[in-house]
Amino acid sequence: MSLKIRYNLWQEKNQISPDSKFKADLWSKLDAKMHAEYGTKHSWFETRAFKFAAAAAVFILIVATTGTGAYAYTSSSVTEGTPLYPVKQQLENLEEKIQLTPEAKARFYLKKINRREAEVAQMNKTQRLKDKITKVQDKIEQEEDNLANVDKILEEKNSGDSHLRDEIKQRLEKRIENRNSVIERRLNNLEERKTLINNKLNQLSTESD
């Protein structure tokens, strides 16, 4: 019963505690005030973004270099619907958060798109359910949207990394090609259907005559 009492006390303590967003916002205000009034500068390694990035990097390193985590993260046979896929995605989400510059983000999205494509290839090989494959293809589309957004930032910034820009350009052009081929395929399908229907109609009209 002591456990129940302690749990209720802990719950009440949590309920009357400030939320982390409020604490972070208030600290930002205080920090800005300190900076405005006293010119207190802080080093880049003292920023919250850096601290978070460092902690996440260590976490990724530990998980990605140990057994299951390493396998989930690196293997293309860990695909949508497999038990380790959520681990892979969480590691990728964390990895995304530590990409601080637009260049790093662009490189990361390119890598992510390649990984998703490898997964689709693997899923086609193992004949996985079509809806799972569509899910991964939707993810590729989403990453390509992210990449296009980062590309806009790089363009505004006039980033000097020409190799990276070329790679992004190629990828986005490939996306347009893919979309065009999908549209073409659909048009062909529609044409085929149209022909089939016309044939059926002709057959029916001949029969009725």
């Binding site: 302690r6 303590k13 400030p18 604490k23 208030l26 205080l30 006293y38």
Partner: protein, 167 residues
């Protein structure tokens, strides 16, 4: 005004923010928005006067005094007549504790918890509430109740045991 060292103030902020928030939140009837406004003002004041703060001497008493005075000003300005403790760390009965508990929308478990706490003697209730809910350390509680830290720990242990028996 002297320049407060950022690192020192950050440490001070991280150490006291939860305690100050709980202190204020409880006394404004669990009004989150109001508590956040008041706590922000308290820390702004603390920043302005941080040069006069000596961690070795005042520990959390300094910021709690600022919070207490700020709350008093707030109620005075609003001409409120809610029951407020004369001394936040006083060992007497704490009507604000009951008042806040009644005002808030509590779960059955927490209501039961407050009912059980009300059955404890004043000192035990004070120790349990301040340590387990408000987050005060045993040494801080011992200081306010004029007892040793070990005695405070033993009293807390006994109080929890008593609460368990009351369930």
């Amino acid at each position: 005004m002297q320049n407060p060292r950022r690192k020192d103030f950050e440490k001070f902020y991280n150490t006291h923010i939860d305690k100050v928030y709980r202190f204020v939140f409880f006394r404004v009837g669990y009004n989150k928005a109001l508590a956040e406004d008041l706590v922000s003002e308290v820390f702004m004041k603390a920043l302005e006067n941080f040069a006069g703060y000596d961690v070795k001497i005042s520990r959390s008493a300094w910021i709690m005094t600022i919070a207490k005075n700020h709350l008093a000003n707030h109620w005075r300005d609003r001409k409120k007549t809610d029951a407020l403790p004369d001394d936040e760390t006083a060992g007497e009965d704490t009507p604000w504790l009951e008042l806040s508990a009644k005002m808030a929308d509590k779960s059955e478990n927490i209501r039961e918890l407050y009912e059980l706490l009300a059955k404890l003697d004043t000192t035990s209730r004070h120790i349990v509430t301040f340590h387990y809910i408000f987050g005060y350390s045993y040494s801080e509680i011992a200081e306010t109740l004029n007892m040793t830290e070990t005695a405070a720990k033993v009293a807390a242990h006994r109080a929890i045991k008593k609460l368990s028996n009351l369930v």
